[in-house]
């Protein structure tokens, strides 16, 4: 067994005890969404059963408790990523909304003709399309950091690319290649050129110890459902002075101090960016998720995934040799547990169909990264992705099931 996570960890996740097509489930799609530990499910059920009330505006006891549950979760999330203050944690619907918030609010106030936003060719659509939309509206240029053949950022011409750039947007870990990007280096380069750095940490925060201050980013977004939390809750972290200076995103209740017939006064951060009744139970669930992950220890989570990724790369290469290619960096330490596979010329959708009959859940498709897929010269990949509850038996099941795909499509 790899690393030092408890071996019975699967028992924490009720869904992992079910079967699919008469076989025990082998869940290898955590890059799309993670399974949820009982601690998270219970926290949400207990919240609804014993605390449920709207937050912030009630003087009665359970309203105060609901508010405290929500704000306690905010503090837990702030600690989890080492934010300087809980006020820097803005709750959003998901990381997609977090990035849209920055594009709309900060971008709307700061970007115009002659400016540029620099993103990478390995971004998820969530960190591309908001900039396309704003570029069309505000008339700035969207520029791209290219990739090396082994799926890393090609930073050779970074200084030239940064000319005129006001914001750099980069994923901390690719959801297709698993590549871990040099965020600190990008932060320093961006700041040296007078630009800010936005980090899409959707695939990073769930898997590695995260210290937003040490990373040097200005904005960093992540999404609850990929880190043992529920769907419907995400986070934008940003330095307080940036949030203070930004105009509101959505308008409505909660985000105001005062409303008159001729205008309004926005609330303090982070509430300024949280219009309407928040997803309170989901926030409570996210709080429970970060407590659960902290209990495991993020260092150990990372250690577990590095050794399991190494085992997977070794196993697949021993079993399938050159018939199976895993995209992205070959060294486990330079990547996360995301294995985008090309298996001979069997189409990824057919691979995942055959695997499904074995109870093995992998995702086939473009993984919301079409510019990257074009760069790789493929329409789709079959992606297996690992998390805390996976172990070597899951990798063995994957390797066994692949054999049937090979037989069915052998000619």
């Amino acid at each position: 067994m790899s690393a030092s996570l408890p071996p019975a960890i699967k028992d924490d996740f009720p869904l992992l005890s079910r079967s699919v097509h008469g076989r025990p489930i082998v869940y290898l799609d955590s890059a799309a969404t993670s399974q949820k530990p009982r601690a998270v499910l219970d926290a949400m059920a207990v919240y609804y059963a014993t605390v449920n009330a709207n937050v912030h505006r009630g003087a009665y006891e359970i309203a105060a408790q609901a508010t405290e549950a929500m704000e306690g979760a905010r503090r837990a999330v702030a600690r989890f990523v080492n934010a300087a203050s809980a006020n820097e944690i803005v709750f959003t619907k998901n990381v997609t909304e977090a990035i849209n918030l920055v594009a709309r609010s900060w971008g709307g106030a700061n970007l115009g003709p002659g400016d540029a936003v620099l993103v990478t060719e390995m971004e998820h659509h969530a960190n591309i399309v908001p900039w396309h939309i704003m570029a069309a509206e505000r008339g700035f240029e969207l520029r791209w950091i290219p990739l090396t053949p082994d799926g890393r950022l090609d930073l050779e011409n970074l200084d030239r690319l940064l000319d005129g750039v006001k914001l750099v947007g980069c994923t901390a870990m690719s959801n297709v290649l698993g590549t871990l990007n040099p965020i600190r280096r990008l932060a320093d380069a961006a700041h040296g050129a007078g630009a800010l750095l936005l980090v899409d940490a959707a695939q990073y925060v769930p898997h590695l110890p995260t210290d937003v201050q040490a990373l040097g980013a200005d904005f960093l977004g992540f999404t609850g459902h990929k880190m043992c939390g529920p769907t419907g809750i995400g986070v934008l972290w940003a330095r307080a002075e940036l949030l203070d200076a930004m105009p509101p995103f959505l308008g409505g209740g909660e985000m105001i101090l005062d409303v008159r017939k001729d205008g309004f006064l926005p609330n303090e951060i982070p509430h300024k960016f949280e219009a309407g009744t928040p997803p309170i139970a989901e926030i409570v669930g996210l709080g429970a998720a970060v407590e659960y992950l902290s209990g495991l220890g993020m260092d150990r989570v990372r250690e577990h995934e590095v050794s399991l990724t190494a085992y997977a790369l070794r196993t697949l290469s021993e079993r399938y040799g050159d018939d199976l290619v895993v995209h992205g960096p070959p060294e486990p330490a330079a990547r996360g547990g995301v294995l985008s596979m090309a298996y001979r010329d069997v189409h990824p959708h057919d691979v995942s169909q055959v695997l499904d009959q074995h109870g093995v859940c992998v995702r086939a498709g473009h993984h919301c990264a079409k510019p990257l897929m074009r760069q790789l010269g493929v329409g789709a990949t079959a992606r297996a992705s690992l998390y805390v509850y996976n172990d070597e038996s899951d990798i063995d099941a994957l390797a066994d099931a692949l054999a049937e795909a090979g037989e069915l499509f052998a000619w």
């Binding site: 189409h347 959708h349 057919d350 169909q353 329409g379 789709a380 499509f409």
Partner: protein, 162 residues
Amino acid sequence: MSGLEDLYREILLDHYRNPRHRGELEVPPAVRAEGFNPLCGDEVIVYVDVGADDVVQAVAIGGQGCSISQSSASMMAAGIRGRPVAEVRRLVRAFKSMMSIHSHEIGGEAEDDDEGGGLDPDDMKLGDLEALRGVVKFPVRIKCATLSWNTLVQALDETAHP
């Protein structure tokens, strides 16, 4: 693994291995239409050349995708060449009716199919296309099977002779 045999019938795999009418046609006289399946990145390009007599003179298929989308496109191409457009449109309806989960659920197996799915009364011979019937049991793959057909309709709608 009985389910997989329902899906990956031998005829289907044969069309996947040896796709018919792959290539391009000159535009014009042919019309070109592109279809995407955002779910899995499948991409089909359909060229049809409809003559003045409203008969499909030539058809060609481009693009890339999974065994279901590619074999369906190949069978479609083989099935429509030389047929009048009106007949092709009826074939499209018959095929899409076969691919409808709705009619499948209502009719159970086979015979009641024309009840729920709006299958054309003067029944079409689906021939090889019957091999795709198993796809209905795999609902996420229905979009793969119908991709080229929807793209064909797009192309036909763009031709000068409807």
